[in-house]
Amino acid sequence: MTTARLLWVGWLMQMKMLARSSFNTLLGIVYPLFFATVAFFMFRAGDDPKPLLYASLGAAVMGIWGATSTAAGGSLAQQRWHGTLELLVAAPAHFALILLPTTIAMATIGIYSMASTLLWGWLVFGIDVQIGDPLAFLIAVPATVISIGALGFLLAIAFVRFRQAWALGNMLEYPVWLVSGFLVPLTLFPGWVLPISWALAPTWGIDAIRGAALGGSPWEDIAMALALGAGYVAIGVLLVQRTLRAARTKGTLALS
């Protein structure tokens, strides 16, 4: 009960803070629209409407990863700047229970972008996305958000030793957009890219959302996205323990 409450309150508090930041709200909504607009222009050139529907959903989910990658990469550095990292580490709750809802909230803010991109595609480009299976869609979206938030959690932990971790998170924005198949079918990539794509939860998340919206069987994709998300969390928890132990031993928590 305490754990569930901690996760809920942590997520809610972080959502409130992010919602006050124009970087996370205004830019988070507007920035993916530029990429979506370019993609819509590019796919609109053909006669077949399917690629446009494909691109519309992909561009919509791009915003979720965009909202997560940079922010999650630098989330621990931000706590360090605010002077709250030591307090959070010293709290009796496990640090992972504090960090995980933070990164999931970052991914959740991306839903603004998802909605605005679908709306933009409909209003400006006339892309009418009909949701084939509303129930599956309503499950696929939060599953994708949670799994992307979990990937952000892993990034946050992995980059804890880097002072400019946000730049590393920022660097990963395009590669994940690319190899997760948001706008490009995975079949276009060289064979060695596919295992990387399969190891990324966003790949399964966007497949689940497309399956739910355009027809298909999204349930396996939803399960894979959640399973990968759980895997990221498990690895992240192990890394947290090692990292915090090392930081406490060397007294480097605030000095990275």
């Binding site: 920035y31 530029f34 053909g46 660097m171 690319l178």
Partner: protein, 261 residues
């Protein structure tokens, strides 16, 4: 002589100070790795959409990515100084403003050129772009003029930094507009008419077109007009940005709002 010193040494000192923040841990991921992946993203979207050649997207995105160093570094001219609480000290000096601000723009042009050139060479090598060896010199010229032109827009951005608190949001939005309007990924003639008109007045539009023609074997003489237009756009934005900075400085002094935004 004093103005020349302010121009060169002030510019270099400012740029070195910027690199105090823009360390390799920021420079390499943000300005060397990210543009290559932006190029690959649009190359693959282009292959999927079967719209244009790989070369089209490599050139468009490599040149357009110069916007990141040009816009953000110029914004740093005002917002960064304000954040470090040094803006007042700079504006209280008797130094002439033209060499003071233009001196800070020169290293930004060089950096923007480097980022675009690196992206062009590496992105082109990855996708196997073939460019005649004789074309690289003129391409470098067109790329440098494009970086100059965008730095002019960066000066406007710096002027807006007097009144806009979230300058990074503003810079990102301008970057996005350049991505859509300049023909980096969608041929300008396939954009709606009003967007074509807007694109004519934006940095990069003519520079990107010039580089594409040069890469296709065109002669420098054939693209002088495009390069000249690109330079003219840079001069107009630069002059407008300088005028905006001076106007905002006056407003800031009058209302004591230099540190407020």
């Amino acid at each position: 002589m004093t103005s020349a010193r302010v121009f060169f040494f002030g510019g270099i000192a400012s740029y070195r100070a910027l690199f105090g923040w823009l360390s390799p841990w920021v420079f390499i991921p943000s300005l060397l790795v990210a543009p290559v992946f932006q190029i690959l993203l649009f190359v693959y979207i282009g292959r999927s959409a079967q719209l244009e050649s790989d070369e089209f997207y490599v050139i468009g995105n490599a040149i357009q990515y110069a916007a990141i160093p040009c816009l953000f570094a110029m914004t740093h001219l005002i917002a960064g100084e304000r954040f470090q609480q040094t803006l007042g000290y700079i504006l209280i000096t008797p130094a002439r403003r033209l060499p003071l601000f233009l001196g800070r723009a020169l290293p930004v042009v060089v950096n923007g050129f480097f980022v675009a050139a690196f992206s062009l060479v590496v992105g082109g090598a990855i996708v196997g772009m073939q460019v005649p060896a004789s074309a690289w010199g003129p391409i470098a010229l067109a790329t440098a003029v494009s970086a100059f032109s965008c730095t002019g827009l960066g000066l406007v951005n710096a002027g807006l930094g007097f009144v806009v608190r979230e300058t990074s949001v503003l810079s990102n939005i301008i970057f996005g507009l350049l991505l859509v309007f300049t023909g980096a990924n969608v041929p300008v003639d396939q954009l709606p008419r009003w967007m074509q008109i807007v694109s004519e007045g934006m940095p990069f539009t003519h520079g990107i077109e010039a580089v594409r023609r040069l890469a296709d074997g065109g002669a420098l003489a054939d693209v002088w007009g495009l390069i000249g237009l690109e330079a003219l756009i840079g001069v107009v934005y630069g002059a407008g940005g300088y005028a905006l900075i001076r106007a905002m400085e006056v407003v800031g002094r009058r209302h004591a709002t230099l540190e407020r935004a």
